[in-house]
């Protein structure tokens, strides 16, 4: 699959891009067997001689099981999925209810009196402050809890942005084909050949005044080519499918064929990718905040920024770095576990 052996002159970047493309295409291939036959119950179809069959309920037929239904049946008993789901749900609940859960005001320096810039810059744990405070005397626990909200907002909005952009480009490419397809996909290839974090960093650095919004835009732009390529792949699979040909044979308009017959059937792998993209978005957001491309307002708690600020004190107080890092890892892990098991469950090749 990898072309790196055939062409040793290829730069590190382009080999990296090839690997990502192969991975995206593999995901796209999932969408084709989405019409995999559901178990067909035996004995149905009314008698042909009598064209108007009135007796209702005379046909014994259990409804078949759709792909999503059977995936859910398997996911329900999958511990990996349940773990990912639990982490995700807890994280989302904490983020939503952060102001009510946080024991203290995350912005107020309660322990500022105990901060000694020379001898003891970081006040340790004490009653009411289970994890201690930061260098400005603010409650670390409350800041971690409040920080989840920023992470969720940035992660979700960036993924949604990337999803929307990818949906547009992928639909254009997959629906029209021809030169539109070539144009869009070559642009996407260029973007994919740049490592995502470097690209996000460059876009983030372009902004005159970094803010939460530039952060979101930077990460969304990075997600666009991934979604676009994925969707284009599964749109192409749909384009050559029988039911699209059947719709064409009925004279259905092209716009309706794209929106009603191709898109809904091509969405499966894209939705799975969105779950995985959330994890990537969260890590990318933390990385950009870490180097100061995030929200310039340092008072607002954000895990990546907290991690960045902790570097000044890391030799004597490594716990300042541990806590936000652990939060980032666990949340990203939660989304990844959920996304991966979802992908596996929907992959007809692994159906048991």
């Amino acid at each position: 699959m990898s072309n790196s052996d055939e062409n040793p002159k290829k730069s590190l970047f382009s080999r990296y891009g090839d690997r990502r493309k192969a991975r995206i295409d593999e995901l796209a291939a999932m969408s084709a067997p989405r019409t995999a036959p559901a178990p067909v119950p035996v004995g149905a179809g009314g008698p042909a001689e009598d064209l108007t069959v009135h007796e209702s309920g005379t046909i014994e037929e259990k409804p078949g099981v759709s792909l999503w239904q059977s995936a859910w049946h398997r996911l329900r008993r999958n511990p990996v999925f349940l773990l990912g789901l639990t982490i995700t749900v807890v994280f989302i609940l904490v983020a939503i209810f952060a102001p009510w859960i946080a024991p203290k005001d995350p912005l107020q320096g309660y322990l500022i009196d105990k901060v000694r810039p020379q001898s003891n810059p970081i006040p340790g744990p004490e009653p009411g402050f289970p994890l201690g405070a930061d260098h400005l005397g603010r409650d670390l626990m409350s800041r971690l809890i409040a920080g989840s909200r920023q992470t969720l907002i940035v992660g979700v909005l960036a993924t949604l942005g990337g999803f929307a952009g990818g949906l547009l480009l992928g639909t254009l490419a997959g629906a029209f084909g021809g030169w539109v397809d070539s144009l869009v996909m070559r642009a996407v290839d260029v973007m994919l050949s740049i490592p995502s974090l470097v690209l996000a960093l460059s876009i983030g650095a372009l902004a005159a005044r970094p803010s939460q919004w530039t952060l979101i835009i930077a990460i969304a732009v990075v997600q666009v080519p991934i979604f676009a390529r994925l969707l284009r792949g599964s749109m192409l699979a749909q384009r050559s499918s029988d039911h699209v040909l059947a719709a064409q044979a009925l004279g259905i308009r092209r716009s309706a064929i794209v929106t009603r017959h191709m898109l809904p059937n091509a969405m499966g792998p894209v939705i799975v990718q969105a779950t995985l993209a959330l994890a990537v978005s969260i890590i990318d957001a933390a990385s950009l905040s870490f180097i100061g491309l995030g929200n310039p307002d340092q008072r607002i708690p954000e895990w990546g920024a907290m991690l960045g600020q902790s570097q000044r004190f890391i030799y004597d107080n490594p716990h300042l770095a541990y806590y936000p890092a652990i939060c980032i890892i666990i949340v990203a892990l939660g989304f990844t576990l959920m996304g991966e098991s979802l992908r596996e469950a929907l992959d007809p090749k692994t159906r048991r």
Binding site: A38, P47, V53, A246, L250, G251
Partner: protein
Amino acid sequence: MTTTAYAARADTRSDAPLLSVRDLQVTFQRRGEEPFHAVDGVSFDVRPGQTVGLVGESGCGKSVTSLAIMGLLPRRGNRISGTVDFDGTDLLSLSDGQMRDRRGKDIAMVFQDPLSSLNPVVPVGIQVTEVLERHRGMNRKAAMPMAADLLKRVGIPDPDRRIKDYPHQMSGGMRQRALIAIALACAPRLLIADEPTTALDVTIQAQILALLKELVEDTGTALIMITHDLGVVAGLCDEVNVLYGGKIVERGPRHPIFRTPRHPYTNGLLGSIPRLDAAGERLTPIPGSVADNLPWDHACAFAPRCSQPIAVCTQTTPELETTGDRALRCHNPVEDPR
């Protein structure tokens, strides 16, 4: 409402052909490869209310013929020539948009695999109303009862409930019925059925054929039946066209073709069917496959597989010669069938 729309055409059989295909040629051309004539000068007529069979084994060009008539072949990589005259208009000269307005309304098609031909994420009822909305300008609410009526007409029990079902919730036979309902929704004058029974159980096959026959007789719709199954032809078709290598090799009314096949290929097809009344006799299959074909240019494509080739078969192309209501393209016709 539906019933009147159908009944209106019950007695429109006449001798003027509804569809007249003349010298249809479809050539697939890939860059750097020899052009391949998938359909090579096919001509036939379909009169209103008539059922015409296109018979042949895989790769003989029958499906390509139907897709060419429907205007569904991809633009790139192929050339289509000849005329497809439908009720006075040459379909091949129509623009994409004009053709799209005709498909589903004047000409409809039923495909081979009923499961993959239905959109898996849209309820069957919506797929019926979609056509009505498109060609009759109805809104969905008004189209719903008509859709239920259509499903009932094709023998789907409890249509009001079934209309909300997704394709995977239906059995194979019901799905094919639903597809037929969709194809007939706008009362087309011509229906093309591309091996509609191949993916079904034998019992369901018989039901679907009976249904098609009845609907065609009721509505006066002309039917082009594409099949490799001579049983289907025997039960349904008024006229049979046997295709080989993209050309028609034999044509005639159903009974004469079955009683006295003249072309060795037709004869071979009939000989390949197991018969109850000939127990103990070995089947006589046609040796080889379509891959053994000669080019039609200076020979008969079937010659390498023929049971009775003569020298001229590999030297000149046989012409399609018409005698009465039958036509034959053979240098050395079968005298003693089977």
